[in-house]
Amino acid sequence: MWLFVAGLIVFFGGGVVSLLMRMSPRLASMVGCVAAVTGSLLALGSAAHVLFTGQAAHVTMAWQIPFGSLALGIDSLSAIFVVPIAVIVAVAAIYGGQYLPSSYRSSVIGPSWFFFNLLAATMLLVVVARNGLLFLLCWEGMSLASFFLVLTDHERERTQRAAWIYLAAMHLGTACLLVLFLLLGRSSGDLDFERFTCEPGSAGILFLLAVVGFGTKAGFIPVHVWLPEAHPAAPSHVSAVMSGVMIKTGIYGLLRILTFLGDVPSWSGWTLVVVGVLSGILGVLFALAQHDLKKLLAYHSVENIGIIVIGLGVGLLGLAHRIPPMAVLGFAGAMLHVLNHALFKSLLFLGAGAVQHGTGTRDIDRLGGLLKKMPVTGTTFLVGACAISGLPPLNGFVSELLIYLGVLTGVADSSRVAEVGWALLCVLVVGGLALIGGLAAACFTKAFGCAFLGEPRSEDAERGHEVGAAMRASMVVLAGACFLVALTGPIWPYVYGSAVVAVAPASFHGEVQAAIEQSRFPLMVVCVSSWAFLAMVGLLAMVRRALLSGRQVDRVPTWDCGYAAPTPRMQYTASSFASPILLLFRMFFRPRIGQHLPTGLFPKQASFESETPDVFREYLFEPVFSAVAWTALRLRWLQHGRLQLYVLYIALTILVLFIWKLG
């Protein structure tokens, strides 16, 4: 535990030092980067210790603030979230050390590293805090640090807009959490987690508050609107941290609250399954409609959070109906997907940053042919794209398989086979996950194919160049990790086992423990088949080489049906690739199309552009917030800026409260 505290001190110290070094941005960047890596390694060490020994660590300090003590603790549930946070922060810091100074003005470098380290420290504190007040303080710190990181490029109007949407969304979420913690701590009078109790009958309302409050951070639909705004606006290594791990603190919060609620009603599992399927399908559909690479990735975060939530829902249904294998596979799939999504989504965001760095644009329709100019970025991006589409032998497949197996074992449970609702669950989860996986594969075929394959579509893409060694190394590490998780399948039940047990009610621990042992079998199959697949690919590649050895292999221009020189503009574009699928689901979209069609016998100019705004933002939140703004404008007469008037307001309020209390 002291290792962990030392890590936190390194984060804060390094951040402050890099903020103070205004004279030398290069040195500030180095200090910030080294502090982030060291702090992460220390935190990773203490989490690994908890996971290997199985002993939770605690530390309690006195503080002057009411409502309990300053308590920190790492148990298995915290540890499985500390691991991805520490890994991604370290890798992103190495990437940022090279990326930030070469892409941004020197005046923002010190502050940026300060907020980066602050974000890392507060994220880690959120998952180890054992006191409600401390949790909320760190939660706010995390939101504010990332708000300032989103504002790194603060002179652009779009960035400012994105940052404000982000800030507003975070505070709406925190408002729910405040009520949630006060309700949980009402009977004991303080906010220490170990004295939290759920009053009988209030589990349902507490659960809903947690879903809305934590869901805003995690990006559940329809409260996901901040994600596609904020993630593209931030520098790429920050997007990687925000999208890869920061939104997972919402999942952690939800799991932690579940441990206080005890027996949860069955409808809570159904709620999560429905929210998850909706987030997954709509997230990937909106992603398909984007042509900004980072915005596309941001929508994929909504999709993957959906998959995690489906897993949690399946797990909760397993708990509510007392089917241990279903509970274990659902929760285990969700927890493993937290790690997996952190790995591949960060990899993809770092890749998108490299593309932007190398070409100066993120518009997929202006890229093309980058695999030849940026071989390392391209190859690692391909690995990430396969992983996020849930293809074996990569990590995304493993966690999605566990969720599939969870719902199938639940449905096959003999006592429930005939129930209509149970069949519906099977259709919803299996059908939903399959649809999500298929659409994700289509989306990444579009993103990878149009950005990295073919011929360059613009001069920017023509000039593309590979990025520096540190940036390449961090992408290679993450791509390797994506393979590693799938190729070491059977060890993961040891890692997530005790965390799954922690979520289950105490009366149920024995059966859950047995089911965890059983969950190693499918992972063993996945592991063996993944190795076999790689071996076979190698074998076939050698066969191909043997067949071609000593023979002539021609490389010529693409057959162009007799035209002398096809231009790159004749290629399939990203928008046209996605168009058939989008037409199929057009009830969910309201694309804005600006077109100028060719006219006359000798047409000269034509143009076409399309933009797909978020329907939830346009039709749900904008009307609501406009109404709020309108009301606020009508109440302007209350606000004169005169101190006497405000004193009068306070006095009147106190008077009314007295009358209410005494009367």
Binding site: L453, V525, S529, L540, R555
Partner: protein
């Protein structure tokens, strides 16, 4: 686990796969009142194709080359998993 019969099944599936084309073609032909292609035609086609000079577009990358390899490995593996699981 790996058994002899399993291995034979996998080997047979690989060897007999091109025969599927003949069966489809012959069935169609029978309904249309024709004779259809010779029994081993797909094998002769494969033999001929394996001896042609490969031509790749300059635009293509390793992804293009690895397509058939990955596709073949995936099908083969699916076969092995279904035979053994």
């Amino acid at each position: 686990m790996v058994t002899t019969s399993g291995l034979i099944q996998i080997a047979l599936a690989l060897v007999l796969a091109p025969m599927m084309l003949t069966i489809i073609n012959r069935t169609k032909a029978a309904f249309a009142g024709r004779r259809g292609q010779p029994l081993l035609q797909p094998y002769w086609d494969l033999w001929k194709l394996f001896h042609k000079t490969p031509v790749y577009s300059q635009t293509t990358t390793a992804v293009f080359v690895s397509g058939p390899i990955v596709g073949c490995a995936a099908t083969w593996l699916a076969l092995m998993v279904t035979v053994h699981a």
